[in-house]
Amino acid sequence: MSSIAPEFRLSRFVASLTDLIFWVIVIFTLIGLPIVFILLFYIKLPVIDDKLLTPYLALTWLADPSRTLPIIKSLMHTDFFRITTFPGFGFAALLAAGTIYIERKFLAKMQLRVGPLYCGKIEGILQLMGDGLKLISKEIIIPAKADKPIFWVAPLLFVGTAAAFISLIPVAPGWVVADLDVGLLAVFAVIGFFPIITILSSWSANSKFPFIGGIRALHQMVSFEIPLILSLLGIVILTGTLNLTEIVESQQHYWWIIFMPIGAIVFFTTILAELERIPFDLPEAESEIVAGWLTEFSGMMYGLVQLGSYLKLYAFAALFTILFLGGWNGPMIWPPFPQEIITEGIKMGPITMHVPGLPLLDQEMLNGTLWFTIKTIGVILVILLPRGVFPRIRIDLLLHTGWYKLIGLSFVNIFIALALVYAGVLGPGGLIQ
C-alpha cells in the first residue's frame, strides 16, 4: 500500500535478533567481564570464614545461594555501594526518574489532560524509558563555532555537581555518603557551582539565545543564593551545628518548620528559583528566548542536563525535608525486622539460609528511609504544583523579589531564631529539648 513501511519478514527479523545476541555476548565477555573484575578489585575485600573474598571466590560463591547474602552484605559495607547505589546516585536517580513521570501525570491531571499514555500500556509508565532511548539514539549536534571542550564537558559537570550535592544528603541514620562536619556549608559550596556551569555552557554554545538565557540564569541563581543561605542561618543558630545528620537528630520532637515557618517559605521560594522552575523559569522563557541556555543542546547532552536538573530537584527537596521536616524522624511503622532471620535463617523450600546478622537492613534504617522518601516526595509534589498554577515572572520583578522581600523575610527569620535562643526556649539548654 505504501512505500514507506518496509515489508516485514520473520526470517530476517530472527536473523537480526540472533546477530544481536551474539554480539552482546561477545562484547560482554570481552569488555564487560573485565570491567566487572576491575570494579570488584577496587571493592574493599572482606574476610568471610577466614578467607579473603577474592572476586573469583565471590563469583563462585554467588552460585551458592547461602553465600550470596554475605557477599551482598560485604558489598553494602563499601563506599562504592554507598556512592553508586543506596544513599547516593542510584537511589536519587530512581527518585528523579519517578519525579519526571509524576510531574507529567500530575500536571496533566491538573490541566485536565491524560499525560503519557501509550508507552508501557499502563498509563504510559515506560514513557521515561522511551524518552531516554530516544535521546540516546539521537544525533548530537554541536554548533559550528561552539567552544567544543566546554560545550562537551558542561552537561557532565552539571550531573557531577548534582551528584556531589546528593552525596551530602543523609537518608537514614548513618546512611550518608559524605558525613561532613560542615555539611551545610558544603551544600552552599556545591550550589555555587551551578551558575558557573550554566554560564560556561551558555557561552560556549556561541549563540545569542543560550547566552541571554545563561546570563538570566546567572542573575537568578546568584541573587537567590543570598536569601537561601540567610534563611538557613536560623536553623544553624538553633542547633549550633552545621552537620546535617545532627540537624536531623535535633528534630526528634519538633520539626523546625513549626518554629520557623518564615524561613521555610523563604527557603522554598529560593528552591524554586535555584531550580529554574515556574514561576521562576526565566532562563527557559520560550516566548522570548527559545529554550534559554539549553537551546543548543541536543540528544543525550540534553538528556544529561535534564537528569542533572532532576537530581538537583531531588536534592533540594531532600534538603528541605532534612532541615525543616525532620528528615527520617517519624513513628515506627515498618514492622520489626524478624529476629529469626538473623538467628534462625530463612527456610525457602529445600534451601535453608543462615544469615549471620544483617545489621544494615534493620528496622530503623528501613523506617527512616520510608519516612524520608514519603516526605521528600511530598515536598517534590509541592515544588511541582506551582508549574500548573503560576505564569512566568519577569526578570526585574524576580530580582526585586529576591533582593527586597526574601532577604528581609530571612532576616526576620534570623531574629525569630535569636529571640528563641535568648529567651531560652530552644537551643542549647533550652526549655524544649
Partner: protein, 170 residues
C-alpha cells in the same frame, strides 16, 4: 596516600596557576584560576580546615569566579585572547619569578620550620566562631563596613548612567 594526594593537588594548583596566566583564551584562563582556587581549598582540606575550605569554595567559586566570568564575557571576543607580549619583559618576569622562588625558598628551607611539631589536634571550627565574637569582634564590625562599602561602590560604578531612572522600576 596523603602524599600522592598532596602531590596531585600541588601539581594541579601550580599548573593551573601558570595556565591561568599563560593560556590564550581568557575564559579558559578563568577556569584555570578556578581550578587553582579549588586546589587551594583542597590543601585546606588536607590541613584539617574543612570550614575554611568550604568557605573558600563558596566565596571564590560561588561569587568571585562568577563575577570574573561575567566580566570576561562582557568584553569583546577578540579581547578575550591575549596580545603577544614583549619577549624581553617576559624573560625578565620569568627571571624575577625564579629569583623570588629560589630566594624565599632558600630562606624557608634554611629556616627551622621543618622541625615544628605536628601532633597538635586540629582546631575545631566552633573555636573560630568564638574568636569572631570575642577577640576579633571590632574587626568583624569593620569587615561588615568593608563589605558594605564594596557593595555600595561596585554597584555605583557598574550602574549605567545613560539609562534614566524613570525607566528603572526600582
Amino acid at each position: 596516600m596523603a602524599d600522592a594526594v598532596f602531590l596531585a593537588i600541588s601539581v594541579l594548583t601550580i599548573g593551573s596557576a601558570i595556565a591561568a596566566l599563560e593560556i590564550r583564551s581568557m575564559i579558559y584562563g578563568s577556569i584555570a584560576l578556578m581550578v587553582t582556587l579549588a586546589g587551594v581549598a583542597g590543601f585546606f582540606l588536607l590541613l584539617d580546615a574543612p570550614f575554611v575550605a568550604m568557605f573558600q569554595i563558596s566565596v571564590y567559586v560561588g561569587s568571585i569566579a562568577v563575577l570574573i566570568l561575567f566580566t570576561v564575557m562582557l568584553v569583546r571576543r577578540e579581547l578575550i585572547f591575549n596580545k603577544i607580549e614583549d619577549p624581553r619583559r617576559r624573560y625578565a618576569g620569568i627571571g624575577l619569578m625564579i629569583v623570588i622562588m629560589l630566594g624565599i625558598g632558600t630562606i624557608i628551607i634554611g629556616s627551622g620550620i621543618k622541625s615544628m611539631e605536628v601532633d597538635a589536634p586540629a582546631v575545631d571550627f566552633r573555636e573560630i566562631g568564638k574568636d569572631f565574637l570575642t577577640y576579633y569582634s571590632p574587626a568583624l564590625v569593620v569587615m561588615g563596613l568593608i563589605l558594605a562599602s564594596a557593595v555600595i561602590g561596585a554597584l555605583t560604578l557598574a550602574r549605567r548612567e545613560d539609562v534614566t531612572d524613570e525607566q528603572r522600576t526600582d
